[in-house]
């Protein structure tokens, strides 16, 4: 294992923030894994930390294929982590909206630039991602469906052995994310979503670590045996049904992620915040699996409460 400082910035009042990368093996830059870009992506950092710990032992046992290398960057935003803030400490900007970065720009543009220059030449890129919606997900792997994406990359989604592989049509705000810019640069980029963000789930950490190791084995970077994981159902993000709330109040959940529901089943109640009566029952529009569940107790009108993956592709 080689430990490098990928990028470092100076603050007037704190110790310098060093972004550390851990490299296993040598030769071809085969795969890069990036963890937290935001200060609350604790689960994402924990997954990478466990990957570093596991790969250290695998490398010592000679399991990294000769001529291949893997770099893990567990955290690129130590400053925000240490003060419990999601976005950049000073100006609240999001490093994951700054790619490919700019070396003469503002601080987060410089961080994105420094990071991107160190990671853009890898064959494969995996980002441990979190979503802007507050909620819990079934673990899944996602890639942007762009001209840069390749058919073999779509098929590689199954190599992670996660239950779902999603294709996302990019929105304008996606064009400044790491994943999108990796693809533009020619890297085969994936985003791995775990169940949580600011909470470390033991099971979901293991799921993500295994999925990454399974991918490294499938790509001939790692020689090791690991169970094959699950069959991956690949679908377009748009085919997942979103269930919204048409009123506001307190949420009382009836289902959780992974539950199978029938059309018309109650997913949650919205309760009046002052008077305690049920204002509305939110039901499933389709037979399927609960893929996402909003996890805040108070909900405003128009909130995406649940996502349901239909059993059959329509």
């Amino acid at each position: 294992m080689v430990k490098d400082i990928i990028y470092s910035i100076k603050s007037p009042y704190r110790q310098s923030m060093d972004i550390v990368g851990y490299t296993f093996g040598s030769g071809e830059r085969s795969c890069c894994v990036v963890g937290a870009l935001r200060g609350n992506e604790i689960q994402q950092m924990a997954i990478c930390a466990q990957l570093v710990d596991t790969l250290k032992r695998l490398e010592e046992s000679g399991c990294v294929i000769s001529g291949k290398s893997v770099m893990i960057i567990p955290c690129a935003n130590n400053y925000s982590m240490n003060i419990g803030k999601r976005f950049w400490t000073m100006d609240n900007t999001d490093i994951n909206r700054m790619f490919p970065g700019y070396d003469q720009g503002e601080t987060t543009q410089r961080i994105a630039d420094g990071l991107f220059k160190a990671i853009r030449d890898y064959v494969h890129g995996i980002q441990m991602a979190s979503f802007y919606r507050d909620g819990d997900f079934l673990p899944h792997i996602k890639m942007m469906d762009t001209d840069y994406g390749k058919i073999e990359t779509y098929e590689s989604l199954s190599d992670f052995g996660l239950p779902y592989g999603l294709l996302r049509t990019p929105h304008p705000y996606d064009t400044t994310t790491l994943n999108y810019n990796w693809q533009v640069w020619g890297c085969r980029a994936y985003s791995l979503f775990s169940t949580y963000t600011d909470h470390i789930g033991k099971k979901s950490t293991q799921t993500a670590v295994n999925a990454t190791l399974r991918f490294l084995i499938a790509k001939g970077i790692l020689k090791w045996t690991l169970h094959r994981g699950m069959h991956t159902r690949i679908l377009n993000e748009e085919s997942i049904r979103t269930v919204k709330t048409g009123c506001a109040g307190m949420q009382k959940k009836h289902v959780t992620i992974g539950d199978e529901v029938a059309e018309g089943d109650i997913l949650c109640e919205i309760v009046h915040p002052l008077e305690g009566n049920t204002i509305s029952l939110i039901t499933s529009p389709v037979d399927g699996t609960v893929f996402f569940a909003h996890n805040k107790q108070l909900v405003m009108e128009h909130t995406d409460m649940f996502s349901i993956v239909p059993f059959s592709n329509v």
């Binding site: 910035i9 100076k10 603050s11 007037p12 009042y13 999601r86 000073m90 100006d91 609240n92 999001d94 909206r97 003469q104 720009g105 503002e106 601080t107 543009q109 410089r110 802007y132 919606r133 929105h171 304008p172 705000y173 064009t175 400044t176 979103t242 919204k244 009123c247 506001a248 109040g249 307190m250 915040p273 002052l274 108070l298 909900v299 405003m300 009108e301 128009h302 909130t303 995406d304």
Partner: protein, 314 residues
């Protein structure tokens, strides 16, 4: 007349409401039956537009007999943000000016963006007033994307600003309010002036004169207010960027909005612990100091100033 533009329920006994003030005279002295919208407060920490809207509403209501057509004033596209000293849309991760045209089936912020666009749709012109951020102070300027220059520049010249900055287009900017409206045929000018969390009365008066001048040029206004200056246009000049390479506190040595000569000190960066000057920023060219840092604490990478050079070289 005060009208609601977007209404949605918040969890505890409150509605989210975006309002506008419609001032109209269909039997005015002019022949125009045009509609102009003045919009601000998309970023909750930018307040210069609040004073412009307040003054404009008073002048137009008191002088309604001099008005022909409709002026719609939207002081707060992000009312929760302004009310809570928050730049973004509270409880929503994305910059509100990156989600237009919004969606009627999206989250509350996206539905609000959709409602604003639907309300402005069909207007002849729109002026979208921003005031930089809390870090940088700007002279009054209009920003025009180069793809819109052909149909916007003539109107930008009427707004009584100090400069018109024509910038490159970027995919991420396709989701701004201004780009969305321009693509839908509402000629929209973006004004940037002053600094976040403050009101600069002289700038507000200057822009107010410009807005009244524009209304007059459109045949909608026969009252006071008018052009007092002709702006510099960026394509005729180079723009010099001055960033800090060190961290510390920035003390300006030049006056914002003034003319500086090559080699003049624009400011110094001090180490607060030792008192040492860690960086002295000198003007790389002669020109208008149109951007100057207002917030003293700087990191490596922080923008300190921008200068529009007197004469374009080469």
């Amino acid at each position: 007349m005060i009208k609601p533009v977007s209404v949605a329920a918040l969890p505890v006994a409150e509605n989210f409401v975006i309002q506008k003030n419609r001032i109209e005279n269909n039997a005015g002295p002019g022949t125009a039956s045009k509609r102009v919208c003045v919009v601000t407060g998309t970023h909750g920490d930018e307040l210069e537009g609040q004073y412009v809207c307040a003054r404009l509403a008073k002048i137009l209501s008191d002088g309604k007999h001099k008005l022909s057509g409709i002026v719609d004033i939207y002081p707060a596209v992000n009312p929760l943000g302004i009310d809570s000293v928050t730049r973004g849309f509270p409880m929503f991760d994305l910059d509100m000016n990156r989600i237009f045209p919004g969606s009627s089936s999206g989250s509350l912020a996206e539905v609000a963006a959709h409602d604003v666009i639907r309300d402005i749709d069909g207007a002849d012109m729109c002026i979208d007033i921003h005031s930089s951020n809390i870090f940088l102070r700007e002279v009054p300027q209009v920003r025009v994307s180069e793809q819109n220059e052909s149909f916007l520049l003539q109107y930008a010249m009427m707004l009584n600003v100090d400069l018109v900055w024509i910038h490159a287009s970027a995919t991420v900017l396709e989701a701004t309010l201004a780009h969305t409206l321009n693509m839908r045929g509402v000629k929209t000018l973006v004004v940037e002036m002053g600094v976040g969390m403050r009101i600069t009365e002289s700038y507000c008066s200057q822009l107010l004169d410009g807005i009244l001048n524009l209304l007059r040029e459109l045949g909608m206004w026969s009252g006071a207010g008018g052009q007092t200056r002709a702006p510099l246009v960026s394509k005729d000049h180079n723009v010099g960027f001055l960033n800090s390479d060190a961290g510390g506190i920035f003390i300006p040595r030049a006056v914002h909005g003034s003319h500086v000569n090559t080699g003049d000190s624009v400011g110094i960066v001090l180490d607060p612990l030792t008192g040492a000057i860690v960086e002295e920023t000198l003007a790389p060219c002669s020109g208008l100091l149109f951007t100057l840092r207002e917030y003293p604490v700087v990191f490596g990478g922080s923008l300190l100033a921008r200068i529009m050079e007197d004469v374009k070289n080469g």
